[in-house]
């Protein structure tokens, strides 16, 4: 009997429509909620009164503690990039372009995107879990009852910290990645150290660096706001917090990747 009902659920058009409707509702509700939270955050930000102490401690939590992970990711990306591109470029006897390729692709694409992905997994999840726990244990309600705006108290420090820290982490990742490429090019591919550095820097134009950093700014904003949004909307107990954390990571990754595509398209034309 139940087996048949389960079967029926899958064949009935109605249940498909229902699922589809629910999914669309969820998506639009989430998108709207995130946009509203972003708007509220910005309007409170313009009013001033930023809690600098909390912001600094968030900067430490978001930025400084992410350094080792970003270091590893960037170092190996740079090394792999050097190896793989040298392998291809060798076919055209163009190995000396390895360093151009590394520096440009790191600054334009890989630096900001990889950093954002690492931070989304690490920081986005921790923001969502922390605020989610506060929400389900009524601490957010308690903040409101004590006449404190949760957005000002919780979101703004995280938002500012994420904006600045992604910016700095991206510069850091660019440098470390190039250093990884250097290690491979100089010690494995036999390029001269002077050549690698000179070519790598000459290949960069201001636009490469600036567009990468603009992306980093936006990614920082996405990750913090999305983490806060799902934290604030957690419900139920531990399970709800787990779900909020998962959604925060998934949605920020989607946003990072899709907006990266959009930015690349925009920067390509301008």
């Amino acid at each position: 009997m139940t087996h048949w009902q389960n079967m029926k659920k899958w064949v009935s058009v109605r249940s498909w429509l229902k699922e589809f409707g629910r999914l669309s509702l969820d998506i639009f509700q989430g998108a709207g909620g995130i946009a509203l939270l972003f708007r509220d955050t910005c309007s409170l930000l313009l009013e001033g009164k930023i809690r600098w102490k909390a912001t600094i401690s968030q900067m430490n939590k978001i930025g400084v503690t992410s350094l080792p992970l970003v270091f590893l990711t960037a170092l190996f990306t740079g090394m792999v990039l050097a190896l793989q591109s040298a392998y291809q470029l060798r076919l055209f006897a163009a190995e000396k372009f390895t360093s151009d390729l590394i520096s440009v692709s790191l600054c334009r694409e890989l630096g900001p995107v990889l950093t954002a992905m690492v931070v989304a997994g690490r920081v986005g999840a921790s923001i969502a879990a922390e605020l989610g726990t506060m929400k389900v244990t009524e601490q957010i309600d308690a903040l409101k009852a004590l006449a404190t705006n949760p957005i000002r108290y919780l979101v703004i420090p995280r938002f500012i910290a994420a904006l600045f820290m992604l910016f700095i982490l991206t510069i850091y990742a660019d440098c470390i990645g190039m250093f990884g490429g250097y290690l491979i090019s100089v010690f494995k591919l036999g390029m001269s150290s002077h050549m690698y550095i000179k070519r790598g820097i000459d290949a960069l134009v201001v636009k490469d660096v600036v567009t990468g950093l603009i992306k980093a700014f936006f990614f920082g904003g996405f990750i913090s706001i999305v983490g806060c949004y799902f934290g604030f909307n957690a419900r139920g107990g531990a399970e709800g917090v787990g779900r909020a954390t998962m959604l925060a990571v998934v949605v920020s990754l989607i946003l990072v990747i899709s907006s990266d595509g959009l930015f690349s398209a925009i920067f390509y034309f301008f």
């Binding site: 244990t137 601490q139 309600d141 308690a142 903040l143 409101k144 009852a145 004590l146 006449a147 705006n149």
Partner: protein, 256 residues
């Protein structure tokens, strides 16, 4: 004076408050009783303005919080203090920072003055020497009392207590009852107490209101409630398993 006028609240399909009307007079202690899950905590959250009703209005001293501009709202909120059912202490802050939260956030008092006040409020709820502990290292009953100290720290004119004595030993429960009475006598505050503990209810209440099925079905002095003819109220206050409340539920489950 607090006027609650016909408020309705839905959570999805769940119609929790179905037109609650209640007036709380100046300097009065009102006890709200009702079954678990009938919406008492939700009602308190409406009064302090954390939740907004879909219909109806709540006026405090003739003014509705919802229509105030943001800045004024915060000032207004400081006149209310609430003890949450689960204490809701901030677990990243020490007991001192928790209790003194509104002073740290909204006043420019010096650290010593705040510490002094925090110590005094903790003394009122029978706690001392725990200012530097984190909430995670407190027992359930201690958390509750720290929550109460936090609620009264900004010296509010209206205090909402959500089950202040649940989870406390009988002696500390009576300390809290005395505190509620003392706050009312000395400071003339309005207190709204949600409780399941009828002894405590009779002790502190000026009036008792019963919430049932999303409405207030009876309000009166403790004596009036004790002698109420309403079978629902009678079943609740005598705590009997047989009566109109349970019959109604039985019918509902049978219908399903």
């Amino acid at each position: 004076m607090i006027q609650i006028q016909g408020i309705h609240k839905w959570f999805g399909q769940n119609h929790v408050l179905q037109g609650v009307d209640l007036t709380i007079k100046e300097g009065e202690t009102l006890v709200i009783i009702g079954r678990s899950g009938c919406g008492k905590s939700v009602l308190l959250k409406h009064i302090i303005g954390i939740l907004e009703p879909e219909e109806g209005d709540i006026k405090i001293d003739g003014r509705s919080v919802r229509t105030m501009p943001q800045g004024e709202q915060d000032q207004f909120r400081l006149q209310l203090g609430m003890l949450f059912q689960g204490a809701a202490l901030f677990d990243s802050l020490t007991v001192r920072e928790n209790v003194g939260f509104s002073l740290y956030e909204h006043t420019k008092l010096s650290e010593e003055v705040i510490s002094q006040k925090v110590r005094e409020k903790l003394g009122l709820v029978g706690l001392r020497d725990i200012e530097n502990l984190m909430p995670a290292s407190l027992s359930g009953g201690m958390k509750k009392r720290v929550g109460l100290a936090r609620a009264i720290c900004s010296e509010p004119k209206i205090i909402l207590y959500d089950e202040p004595t649940t989870g406390l030993d009988p002696i500390n429960a009576d300390v809290i009852n005395d505190l509620i009475l003392r706050m009312q006598e000395q400071l003339k505050v309005i207190s709204i107490v949600v409780t399941h503990d009828m002894t405590s209810a009779y002790k502190v209440a000026d009036r008792i209101a019963m919430l049932y099925d999303g409405k207030i079905i009876g309000v009166g002095t403790p004596d009036e409630i004790k002698n109420s003819k309403d079978p629902i109220i009678q079943q609740f206050i005598t705590g009997s398993a047989r009566g109109p409340i349970t019959d109604q539920e039985k019918k509902e489950t049978e219908l399903l």
